[in-house]
Subunit: 207 residues, 2 copies
Amino acid sequence: MPKLVDPEARRREVVDALFRVVVRDGLQRTSLRAVADEAGLNIGSLRHYFSSQQDLMDFAMQSMLDGLTDRLLQHVERIGDLSRHPHPERLRLVADLLAELLPLDERRRAEVTVFLDFNAAARTNPAFRDLSHQAATGTRRLVRRVLTRLDESGTLRPGRDLDIETERLTALLDGLGLSAVRHPDVLSAQTCAEALRVHLEDLSDGR
Amino acid sequence: MPKLVDPEARRREVVDALFRVVVRDGLQRTSLRAVADEAGLNIGSLRHYFSSQQDLMDFAMQSMLDGLTDRLLQHVERIGDLSRHPHPERLRLVADLLAELLPLDERRRAEVTVFLDFNAAARTNPAFRDLSHQAATGTRRLVRRVLTRLDESGTLRPGRDLDIETERLTALLDGLGLSAVRHPDVLSAQTCAEALRVHLEDLSDGR
DNA sequence: CTCTTTGTATCACGCTCGTGATAAATTGTT
DNA sequence: AACAATTTATCACGAGCGTGATACAAAGAG
C-alpha cells in the first residue's frame, strides 16, 4: 500500500523547486524560505525532509551531478566502440556527447546555470569544495577519454599533446557554456554548437 | 597646498580593499562593513565617499574595466602594425596581449576572480547588467580585432569563419580563466598559457 | 575667534536569514 | 477508539545586512 507522501519524491520535488529558484533568482537569493514557497510547502515542512540548509544544498548538487553523469554514460554506451562507426560520423557522435555540457536547450541551460552559480560559490564555501573539484576532474576525465578514443581510432591529427588538448577542449566547453548562459543575446545556442563542431574538425585530419 | 585627504585616493583605497575582500571571501560576503574593516575605515566614513552600496560596486567594477582596457590598449599600441614584426613572432605578441585576460600572476588572478564573481552576480542583478554586457562585447571586439589583423597579415590559415573563431577563442580564454581561478591545482598558469599558444598556432599556418 | 566645509564615528530601524523548539494536524497501526 | 509515527505549521531568537539620521571632530577661510 503506497504511503500518502513518498519522502524521496518529496525530496526530489524540493530539489526541483530549488533549481527553479536558483535559475530565476541566483544561488545568493536561494533561501530556505524561497525554496519552500516555490515548492508550495511550509518552511517547517521543508525542514522535515532536509535537516539544514547545507543538507539541502548538498543533496541538490549531488542530484544534479548524478543526473548528468547518468546521461553522459548513456551517450557513451550508445556510441559503443568508436571505430564501429564510419569515419565522418565519429565527430558528430562525439560532438553530441560533449554537447550534453552545453546549454543548447532549456534543460541543459538550467543545468549549466545552476552549475555555474554553484561552482562560483564553491570557491569561497568550503562545504562545496569537494563536489566542485569532483565535477572539474570528472569533466576532464570525460574529455580526455573522448580525445584518447579519437586518437586511437586514427581520427585525430598526429602530434597532439593530449594533456593540452584536454584542457583546451574543456576550456572551450566551459567558456561556451558561460557565455551562452550569461549572454544568450551575444552567443546563441547554434553558434555554440557550431564552435564545438569546428573545434573537433580542427583537431581531426582534413577528413 | 595639498588637502589632508585626497578624496579620489581614498576612493581608490576603498576599491582596493573591496577587491581584496571579494577575492578572499567572495562577492556574496562583501558587505559594506567588511570593506570598511578591510580598508581600516569606519563604515560611516566609507559612506561619506560612497553614498550607497550600489554606488561603491558600480565604481569598483567600472574601475576594474577601465584599468583592464588601459592595459590592453597599451599592449595594442606597443605592438603597432602586426606586419612590421617577423612572421614567427606575431603569434607570441598576440598571445601576450590576450594573456592579459588570463590569471597568470597574482594581479591578473585577482582581476579575473573579481570579474567572474561580478559577472555571476550580473545574471540576476539588473544593476550590473550593462557593465557585464559591455565587458562581454568588449572582449569579443578585441578578440575579433586580433583575429582580423592576423588574417590580414596572412598569418591565419585560409577558410576560417571569423565569427566562429572569435567565439571559439573568446570561449577558450573565458574557460581557461575560469578553471585556472577555481581549480588552480588542476589547471596551472603554465598550462593555461600553453593552451592559448597551441590554439593560436593551430589557427595559423604550419609556420 | 568664528563659521563653514569636510571628514569621522555611532546609534537605531526594518529587513531577511538559518535554526531550535514546539505545537497542531494527519496518517497508519493496533 | 486509542495510540504512535509522520507530516505540517508557528513562533521566537540572534545574527548580519543597508541605510537614514545625527552627533562629533578637524581643518581652512573670513
